[in-house]
């Protein structure tokens, strides 16, 4: 049961070498490595709370075995902090109170970020509702999240990414 395998991945740009059991899913492996993200809501792929980016694509980290992530680039929302799209999302989430307890938020942002950086054609409220329909939020009732997503989508359409203000350089 406890035969372990060594894997190497990057977590938010930092190289991590981990010894994992073949049965350990990626979310648990990252927790064992000391990361506070992702969080888990169901461990059967429905609630979306553990969503993160694996090689740039969103995955449910409870449905990915850690050994499958050997050699992958993993990003949680902490790894996207310099993204101008994420910064717009953060502002819009704050402005519209699009979070309450915050448990679903980091995964909600991953899903939203992936959508907004894919240059979506349909940026209606209904489209935004469908985008986040795999992320369970028990607190907000979703409306404020939808408002935030649609607002950022409209901002990006009006002024595409390359014309957005660059994030401040770290001091």
């Amino acid at each position: 049961m406890t035969d372990t395998q060594q894997i190497t991945l990057t977590l938010n740009g930092g190289i991590k070498t981990l010894r994992v059991s073949p049965r350990t899913h990626l979310a648990d492996a990252l927790a064992e490595a000391g990361s506070n993200l992702p969080v888990l809501g169901c461990e059967h792929g429905v609630c979306g709370a553990c969503t993160l980016l694996m090689d740039g694509v969103s995955v449910r980290s409870c449905l990915v075995l850690a050994v499958q992530a050997d050699g992958a680039a993993i990003e949680t929302v902490q790894g996207l902090q310099d993204s101008p799209v994420l910064q717009l999302l953060n502002q819009a989430f704050l402005k519209h109170q699009a979070l309450q307890c915050g448990y679903c938020t980091s995964a909600m942002l991953i899903t939203a970020h992936e959508w907004l950086t894919s240059q979506p054609e349909d940026i209606s409220r209904q489209a935004a509702r469908e985008v986040i329909s795999g992320n369970l939020c028990r607190c907000t009732g979703y409306q404020a999240i939808v408002t935030a997503l649609v607002e950022v989508a409209a901002q990006l359409r009006a002024a595409p990414l390359d014309s957005q203000p660059k994030p401040a350089e770290p001091a």
């Binding site: 049961m1 406890t2 059991s21 049965r23 350990t24 648990d28 927790a31 000391g34 990361s35 506070n36 993200l37 969080v39 888990l40 809501g41 169901c42 461990e43 059967h44 429905v46 609630c47 709370a49 949680t76 929302v77 902490q78 902090q81 953060n90 989430f93 704050l94 519209h96 109170q97 979070l99 309450q100 307890c101 915050g102 448990y103 679903c104 938020t105 980091s106 942002l109 409220r125 935004a128 509702r129 469908e130 986040i132 329909s133 795999g134 992320n135 369970l136 939020c137 028990r138 607190c139 907000t140 009732g141 979703y142 409306q143 404020a144 999240i145 939808v146």
Partner: protein, 725 residues
């Protein structure tokens, strides 16, 4: 930036610290074997093979627990339930419900502990277990006025309400550490009420209360699920002491579904009597609440039923009532408080009767309601069962709702649709909501829940403020509201006010329940801020030889009535802190920079009210209901943070919509069939419409803030959808 925004920003940055990620390198992990079936005798339980598994520190059955620490009991001081049993922390020879912990494994990791669970041999056989399923635990009759001997018209309806789960996205969890050297217990737990848990852990372990500390930290949704003290929580803490190492206990989703509080499982029948003029003259109702295998520790499980008695017909003028409520045992998990305790069921029954009465008398449901609602702005009214209501605005809310909905236009649209064979439904409800109970609720019950919240505020040498509160916040925005109240009173920006919460070492408080955050803890914070200001002004007045009552505190400056600077606040604070040598008694030695105050509701509780409306389409062939629009008009008293209040309402409404349209614990016998998110449906974004919210404001008469509820727990929801007439 406001305190609530600071919390939000931390979450947005992915910096939340939730309990499952609290790492204890020297710690053990607990997993419990949960009974696959309730109502059974344990024929065989063998733990030996589990004990031999890799990484296992210890395995426990009931008999391995120390005598005197094996049980909890939800027996209340003023209500005893027929057939009630003490609840063992691990099953004692029999299992009363599916999900009950039978054995416990402590191992080096959760995965190894779960492996060991598989090596436990357990054989069960169905048996007659006390109390028998279906036997009565509790009955009470609530009567008011004289029921009419004969009514011109009587409308009778029968109801069934399904068991519902609370579903916090973050499952329950705790880390318990017992320091044998100092006899100190520290528990980090995602809970709503750290002070209550401190008392309960101290009682279980026989420790002085002051030796126990409970810290709640970031909590990923609670909704009442995290208000209780579950047998497995108590077990985890006990085992941390027995094992002599920290114990981490983190439930998964499947465990949550079979062990968290469920609620709202009711059968009901109700009758509304009308006189010859079509006026309501009586309400008769029978409610049977199926409450599971135990009263849920420590609040027991009669709240839902009692509320049905107290609040049936509450929003209406009903001269007489006869309401019987019963609770019955089941071989299912204990039921308890989840969001909106006991209020959705009587509201739903009442509103469906109102629609039936409107239909029977040929009146529009809006007009019928307006003609019978309890009167606005009168202070002497009571519910049919005699609960005092305070100042209401029911008619104002319903009229505003009709305006917001474009009610008459919707009725025309409904008729036009019907002519084309399309079914549109328009639903209306009026509701009152009891919030923020005073000491009359849990005092007689002898529960370790303070009705009072206290608050301490300290001014620092730089004129910043630290607020210590007994309130807790699981995302409602309560702490942000308290900071706003304090900052306004102390004349400073919110960025100069820090707040600490969620720790039983802080001033006492009941924690988060019954929408009490700002109504109770907010008022306590206001009183503490007033006291602190008065102390600082008194000291400044003495130093500068001017009457304190002429001074004001503004943006870190103490000013006279003309706005001239008397002294910077920081200077006064520094003198008070460090230069008491200059001020001999009686001025010196007095409290200046630290003030403490408490608030307890004088009224039995606060009453908020409002109205909601829905527009739905119904597929005649499939019965599929699509919610097209939903409107809310709410009177929660003065609003401290308008946006957060609205988002609390939206969240509450969507949970209510979930209960109406999707959520149901489906049982076959006593086996839960849908214990996963794949099968137990909660509302997702795609199914929900935008929800329109507006406000009417009526103040609570007995507090300075006048707030009636804050963290919005209202979940009455759109129970009633009136079909085309």
């Amino acid at each position: 930036m406001s305190a609530a925004d600071r919390h939000s920003q931390r979450m947005l940055a992915g910096a939340g610290r939730f309990i499952a990620r609290k790492s204890r390198p020297d710690g053990l992990h607990l997993a419990v074997l949960r009974s696959p079936q309730g109502g059974c005798r344990i024929d065989h339980l063998d733990l030996a093979a589990a004990q031999a598994c890799e990484g296992v520190q210890a395995v426990y059955g009931f008999a391995d627990l120390p005598e005197g620490q094996r049980h909890i009991s939800a027996r209340l001081g003023h209500i005893s339930l027929t057939g009630e049993q003490k609840q063992p922390l691990l099953a004692d020879g029999q299992t009363r419900f599916q999900g009950e912990a039978v054995a416990a494994v402590l191992a080096e990791s959760r995965a190894l502990a779960e492996d060991a669970l598989e090596a436990i041999e357990l054989t069960l056989s169905p048996a007659d277990i006390e109390p028998p399923a279906g036997s009565q635990a509790f009955e009470r009759v609530f009567a008011g006025g004289t029921m009419p001997k004969a009514a011109a018209t009587s409308l009778s309806l029968d109801f069934q309400f399904a068991r519902q789960a609370g579903v916090a996205l973050e499952p329950r969890g705790l880390v318990a550490e017992f320091d044998a050297g100092s006899d100190q217990l520290t528990v980090w737990q995602n809970h709503q009420s750290p002070h209550m848990m401190r008392a309960l852990y101290a009682r279980l372990l026989g420790l002085p209360e002051a030796s126990v500390r409970v810290i709640t930290g970031d909590v990923g949704g609670a909704f009442g699920v995290k208000l209780h003290a579950y047998a497995d929580d108590m077990l985890a803490v006990l085992l941390a002491r027995l094992a002599g190492r920290p114990v981490s206990f983190q439930l998964d989703r499947l465990e949550s579904f079979v062990s968290d509080a469920h609620a709202r499982h009711f059968d009901a029948s109700a009758r509304l009597d009308l006189d010859g003029q079509g006026r309501i003259c009586g309400l008769q109702a029978d409610y049977t609440n199926h409450i599971g295998a135990y009263g849920l520790y420590p609040r027991s499980s009669v709240g839902d039923a009692v509320q049905c008695g107290l609040f049936s017909g509450a929003a209406y003028q009903i001269p007489a009532c006869q309401i019987t409520v019963r609770s019955r045992w089941q071989h299912r998990p204990p039921t308890g408080a989840i969001r909106g305790v006991g209020q959705p069921i009587p509201c739903s029954v009442t509103e469906q009767l109102m629609d039936a009465a409107a239909r029977a008398t040929g009146q529009d449901p809006l007009a019928f309601r307006l003609a019978h609602l309890a009167k606005d702005r009168q202070s002497e009214q009571k519910t049919p069962a005699g609960v005092p209501l305070g100042q209401l605005s029911l008619a104002a809310c319903l009229e505003k709702l009709a305006e917001e909905m474009g009610y008459q236009t919707l009725r025309k649209r409904q008729a036009e649709a019907l002519a084309k064979g399309e079914l549109l439904g328009i639903g209306l409800i009026s509701f009152i909501e009891q919030t923020s109970p005073g000491p009359g609720l849990y005092g007689p019950a002898e529960l370790p829940v303070t009705a009072e919240d206290r608050c301490e505020i300290r001014a620092g040498e730089d004129g910043s403020f630290l607020v210590l509160t007994g309130a807790t916040d699981q995302g409602q925005g309560t702490l942000g509201g308290i900071v706003k109240i304090v900052a306004a009173e102390l004349g400073c920006t919110e960025s100069l006010v820090q707040i600490r919460s969620g720790d039983s070492d802080l001033p006492i408080g009941g924690g988060a329940w019954a929408s009490r955050g700002l109504a109770i803890a907010g008022e306590a914070a206001l009183l503490a801020a007033q006291k602190l200001k008065s102390q600082i002004m008194g000291f400044a007045g003495h130093i500068h030889q001017c009457p304190p009552e002429t001074l004001q505190l503004k943006a870190g400056r103490i000013e006279d009535s003309q706005g001239r600077l008397i002294a910077p606040l920081a200077e006064i604070c520094q003198l008070a802190l460090y230069r008491q040598d200059l001020y001999p008694p009686p001025v010196g030695g007095q409290a200046v920079v630290c003030a403490e105050a408490g608030y307890m509701a004088e009224a039995p509780h606060f009453i908020a009210n409002g109205a909601q409306g829905s527009l739905v389409s119904i597929d005649e062939e499939t019965g599929f209901v699509r919610l097209l629009n939903h409107w809310v008009v709410e009177d929660c008293g003065p609003v401290i943070d308008a946006k957060r209040v609205d988002e609390q309402i939206r969240g509450g409404v969507v949970q209510g919509l979930g209960a109406v349209l999707f959520e149901e614990c489906r049982y076959e016998g006593d086996q839960l069939l849908n214990a996963s998110f794949a099968d137990y449906l909660v509302p997702m974004a795609g199914e929900m419409p935008d929800i329109s919210i507006s406000h009417i404001e009526t103040r609570h008469a007995h507090s300075q803030l006048g707030i009636k509820e804050s963290e919005r727990l209202e979940q009455s929801g759109p129970r009633q959808l009136s079909g085309p007439q």
